[in-house]
Every structure is written in C-alpha cells, then in structure tokens.
C-alpha cells in the first residue's frame, strides 16, 4: 500500500490504462499543453504524445460527440469535461446519445467511453461553477454514473470505467483532489456497481458517496466518542445503485441517514430512502433523515456558501435525530 492523493490516484489509473491499451486516448479542454485544469493529466502530453492527449476547443458537444463517434469506431476515449457544470452544454450527447445508442439500435453499437467531470461546491466559484448535479445523470438508463470518495476507489473504479464497454460518467469532486488515502500497489480493478462498507457500526446506517464519504467518516469518529456506532456505506456508483449492503445494514440498525452534497429535492437521498422504506419497511424505527445542500444556487460569499453546503455537524445532527 502507498499513501497518495485523489488526484494522483486518478492520474495513475489513466496513465496505467493508457500504457496497457493503445486505443485509449484523452480529449478535452487544456488536457495537454496546460497539463489539465486540475493537473490530473500533467506530464501526459510529453509521454503519450499529441495524438493521444488531445486539446480541444471549448466546445463540450464536440468533445463528448467526438468521443462517442470514436468509441463507436473502436477507440476507447476518455473525455474530460473541465467541470461537471459544463456537462449541461453537452447534455444531449451525454444523456440522449451516449446513453441511448446501444439500446436504440438494437445492441449493434458499443460505446466504450468515459466522461470524467469534476464538480462540487465550496470554492467560491458562485452558482454556475459549484454544482453537484450527480443525481440528474443517474436518472438515465444506459449511462453508468460512478462517483468515488477515496483514492483507492477512484483508481480501481476509473480503471473499471475505462475497461467497460458502456458509457460511464466518472464524477470527481474538485475539493478532494488533495485528500490522501492508501492505495494498493500495482494493477487492480474495482467492479462498478458495488457499494462498500467504509466503517462498521451497529446503531445507525449512514449512506453516502463522493466527498461526503470523508465527512461521514469524520462524523462517525466523533459520534464514536459518545458510544454511537455508525455504519458508513459508500455507494461508489449511483447507477448501477447497489442497495443490497444498505438494506442489509438497515435491517440491523433500523435507522438511516443519507448524506450527499447535491440538493435535497429529487436527490440521491430521496432515492435511497424510498427504496429502504419499500424494501425494509418493517425494520424502520425512526424516520429516515437526509443531509444535503440547501435549496439555493450557491452564493459566492464564503460564509453563505458554507451555510448552504452540508457540513460534518449536519450529519452528526441527523444521526442524533434518528436515534431519538
């Protein structure tokens, strides 16, 4: 095992996969000469060359559209969107083309395509650049939506995404690129569609993913000091959504909190809660609680922005509520 950052984990996965398979190439804004807006592809251009590390115009439909076409024709493109906020500009190609083509043409077209997109709030970028719209993309059958919360998962899941023959939206959170974690040595792949228990506990099931994994673990740590044992389950992908470990945990704890960074309404928490009520209604000892972003466009002002974003304290509070 070695301690590396989230950024390094993602970068390593890309690098190792590109070394393994010549069909893999990267395209996106500033991925080459600049070295990646978040420096994920730093050094790639020198090593892999301009054919495989392609700077594009600022034209997200062209980026995703061209990636789709190249994937159809046998390549394995990894398209980088500078931020997930720009995915809306390419929305048709993501949800209406990539997610549909295998099905709509009767299975004859394959799209081994990854779209990497960092998102998340908390960097004072104001409303248009700070969103966590993950749930929107998870709405569409045909698209896989992966959103890891630890370096180990990021590396293993990105490799799985690149090796998948289906289109994958790989959502990163830009505020945790510096977060460190232990990563196994060598080549490993984590299958898409398996939730993971990140911390065991017997009092409350805390379901989360992406950036909120660390927040949830911090909350669990604090609560442990009071003897409250929280089980933290990381969904790791929103579609496929692996509810099995969540339901199993809930049947032991009978209480659940769901923590996500995106907005509350129609969010991941709503989906998970609905499924828990349906699959394990007889086990419910308290109303399931959701922790999420307040229903406002994120403001620039630092204090206001932090007020809108879910905090560790909000998670602790919600856990206490379900234990009442």
């Amino acid at each position: 095992m070695s301690m590396i950052t989230m950024r390094e984990a993602i970068s390593q996965a890309l690098w190792e996969e590109m070394e393994r398979d010549e069909k893999i190439f990267i395209l996106g804004e500033e991925v080459g000469v600049w070295g990646g807006t978040y420096a994920v592809t730093k050094g790639f251009l020198d090593h892999f060359g301009a054919e495989r590390v392609r700077d594009t115009p600022i034209a997200e439909s062209a980026i995703v559209g061209a990636a789709i076409g190249a994937a159809l024709a046998g390549m394995r493109p990894v398209a980088e969107l500078m931020t997930i906020n720009f995915a809306f500009v390419a929305m048709d190609h993501i949800v209406n083309q990539a997610a549909k083509m295998h099905y709509m043409f009767g299975g004859q077209m394959k799209l081994p395509l990854v779209i990497r997109a960092p998102g998340g709030g908390g960097r004072q970028l104001a409303a248009t650049h700070s969103q966590t719209p993950d749930a929107i993309f998870a709405h569409f059958p045909g698209l896989k939506v992966v959103a890891p919360g630890t370096p180990e998962d990021a590396k293993g899941l990105l490799k799985a995404s690149i090796r998948s023959d289906d289109p994958v939206l790989f959502i990163e959170n830009a505020t945790i690129y510096q977060q460190r974690g232990e990563v196994p040595e060598g080549d490993y792949v984590i299958p898409i569609g398996e939730s993971k228990i990140q911390r065991e506990g017997r009092h409350v099931t805390l379901v989360t993913y992406s950036k909120m994994v660390q927040y949830s673990l911090q909350a669990a740590e604090k609560l442990a000091q009071e003897g409250i044992e929280v089980e933290v389950i990381d969904l790791r992908s929103l579609r496929p959504l692996d509810m099995q470990p969540v339901i199993a945990s809930f049947k032991r704890t009978n209480r659940a909190v769901i923590a996500e960074e995106g907005w509350l309404s129609f969010g991941v928490g709503a989906e998970v809660a609905a499924r828990l009520y349906q699959e394990a209604f007889d086990y419910v000892d308290a109303p399931i609680r959701r922790v999420a972003q307040k229903e406002v466009p994120l403001p620039y002002n630092r204090r206001l922005e932090q007020l809108a974003l879910p905090q560790v304290e909000d998670i602790i509070q919600a856990v206490r509520e379900v234990l009442k």
């Binding site: 190439f25 054919e51 392609r54 594009t56 115009p57 034209a59 439909s61 062209a62 995703v64 559209g65 061209a66 990636a67 789709i68 076409g69 190249a70 994937a71 159809l72 024709a73 046998g74 390549m75 493109p77 048709d92 190609h93 209406n96 083309q97 083509m101 295998h102 099905y103 709509m104 043409f105 009767g106 299975g107 004859q108 077209m109 394959k110 998870a138 059958p141 045909g142 896989k144 998948s164 023959d165 289906d166 299958p191 898409i192 569609g193 929103l238 579609r239 496929p240 959504l241 989906e271």
Partner: protein, 325 residues
C-alpha cells in the same frame, strides 16, 4: 460506367420510392407508429452519395433515413420490419423509422436530434485518422441543422484536426416548415463552409449522376488527405415533413414544379434517351422491386413481436444490470 451500374442506381431509386409509398399506406392503416419522414423526391441524393463509397467509408445521417438504409444495403424486408417494430428490423424494433442502422454495412444511423450526429461523425472520422484507415465518413444532414450549435462545433473540430469527413448538406428547402430565408443568416448554406476554411461545392440533387460524380471526386480528395469538405445538395421533398404536415408553408404549384422534374422521371428519361435501357427492361426492374416490397411487407407482418424480455436487453453491454438502477 457500365450499363448495369446505371440500372443499379435506377433500381435503388425506385426501391426507395416504392418503399416510401408503401410505408405511407401502412402508416395510414395504423401499422406503423410514431413519426414517419418520407424520402420521396430526394432519392437521387442518397443514391448518388453512396454509389461510389468504399466498404470502409462510413455513412451517418439524420432521421429521414430509409433511403440511406436501402442504399447502404439493408434489405427492404429489414427496413419494413423496423417500421413495424419487429425483432427482425434492422434495429430490432427498438429504433423505428428514425433510427435505422447497420454497423456491419458501415451505416451508423439514423439520428433524430437535429444536428447531434454531426459531432459524432467527427469522432468516427477521428478514429479512422488515428488508426490510419483510408476511410471517409460521409455525414448527411438537412439545411435546418446548419443553424444549430452541434453543426458548428462538429465541423470546426473536424477541420481543426483535418479529419476525413465529407459533410453533405441535403437542402430540401424547409426545416419542417421553415425555409433558410426565415431561419438562417445566410440562405446560401454553402457560405457557411467558408467560415470553417473548407472547400465547398454544390450540386443539383435531382440529378443522380451529377451527385454521384461530385461525391466520387470529393471522396477521392478527402481520402488523399485534403481534410474535410462540404457539399450542398439542392433537393426537394415531395411529401410533407412527416405524415402530419398541414403544408401551409408552400403552395401546391411550387410542389408541382419540382415533382414534374423529379429525380426518377429525369433519370428514366436519361436512360431511355441514352439507350442504356429499354421500356421493357425498365418495367422488368420495377416488377422485381414491386415483388421485393410486397415480400418485405409480408415478412415484416409475419415477423414476431419482440418478447417482453427484450425490454431489458441492450441497456448495457456489460450485462450486470437489467432495468433497475
């Protein structure tokens, strides 16, 4: 060109015509659902475009796609079966009229979001360039598609990377009911190619041989590394945009003018005049086409409906989940 090649073009054009007329009848009877966009009047366009393409050349088009399907080599019966939503359809009954494809024939669809397939064509050509294949991607779209952002993003990138694409604007004069004069900053669509530094040509889309010849030249140049080129083909659709078109945007006289000088009549006349084909031979070809259409309808009608299980098939290649998120 040999006589049999002329006759093959003729056969394809009347196959499309009769296929579309038959589809219209089946639509009226309720056997075909959804939208139906007929290619009647535009047969010379796709027939001419595909006449000289090599097997490695890709073709991708918009939703008025039955003609290209026939020219690409999909059998009438598989087109009919798709229209009737059967498993024997070229997209297994999941795509319908607007989403026909056959990847083995390098026909990449049938795309129904206006212009969205244009950047996808850029990507198809990118793969060929990266893999050093001597292939050209032929991307067809209507003049209406040149007003949407996808067009500009797609052609800009293709030119920036010098990709082997032939952009074919099939100008049938109306995007639904709106003419370029009412929707485009420049009504001469060909001018739009200048902004992207592409060689641009136009041709009469009612003349199958003219279309064939100019496309052959363009394909040769692009294959030799010219980068993308642009071709505007002027044509006219004889029927409405789709089956429910009140046609308030054009006069019967205007339609009549084009119909009287239609691509099939014109080519028939040419074949007879040039002595490439006699009336008897022409009738014989028509007879065979009629039989093929008739058998195609029979095949489509008798083909099985998809099983319920097909609902959850082909959502993903990696079959680790079916239907549920």
């Amino acid at each position: 060109m040999e006589k049999k090649e002329y006759l093959e073009l003729y056969r394809q054009m009347i196959t499309i015509r009769r296929l579309e007329e038959t589809a219209a009848e089946l639509y009226q009877k309720g056997e075909i659902g959804g939208f139906l966009h007929l290619y009647i009047g535009q047969e010379a366009v796709s027939t001419g475009i595909l006449a000289t393409r090599q097997p490695q050349d890709r073709v991708i088009t918009a939703y008025r796609d039955h003609g290209v399907a026939i020219n690409a080599g999909i059998l009438v019966r598989n087109v009919m079966a798709e229209l009737l939503g059967k498993t024997t359809g070229c997209s297994q009954g999941k795509g319908g009229s607007m989403h026909m494809a056959d990847v083995d024939k390098n026909y990449w669809g049938g795309h129904a979001i206006v212009g969205a397939h244009i950047p996808i064509a850029t990507g198809l050509a990118l793969a060929d360039q990266m893999e050093k294949r001597a292939a050209v991607t032929i991307c067809m779209f209507g003049e209406g598609a040149t007003n949407i952002g996808f067009f500009h993003e797609g052609v800009n990138l293709a030119k920036t990377w010098n990709l082997p694409v032939l952009w074919v604007c099939e100008n049938n004069r109306y995007g639904m009911g709106t003419s370029p004069e009412r929707a485009s900053a420049v009504s001469a669509i060909i001018q739009k190619a200048c902004g992207y530094g592409m060689p641009a040509y136009d041709v009469d889309g009612m003349d199958v041989l003219a279309v064939k010849d100019i496309v052959a030249e363009r394909l040769e140049e692009i294959r030799a590394g010219s980068g993308p080129q642009f071709l505007e083909i002027c044509t006219y659709r004889f029927r409405g945009h789709s089956m429910g078109d009140p046609e308030k945007y054009r006069s019967p006289d205007e339609v009549k003018k084009f119909v009287e000088n239609g691509p099939i009549d014109r080519f028939q006349k040419y074949l007879l005049e040039q002595g490439l084909c006699g009336q008897a031979e022409m009738d014989q070809i028509m007879q065979k086409v009629e039989e093929e259409i008739e058998q195609g309808v029979k095949f489509a009608r008798e083909s099985p409906e998809p099983e319920d299980a097909a609902l959850f098939e082909h959502i993903y290649v990696d079959d680790n989940q079916r239907g549920e998120a």
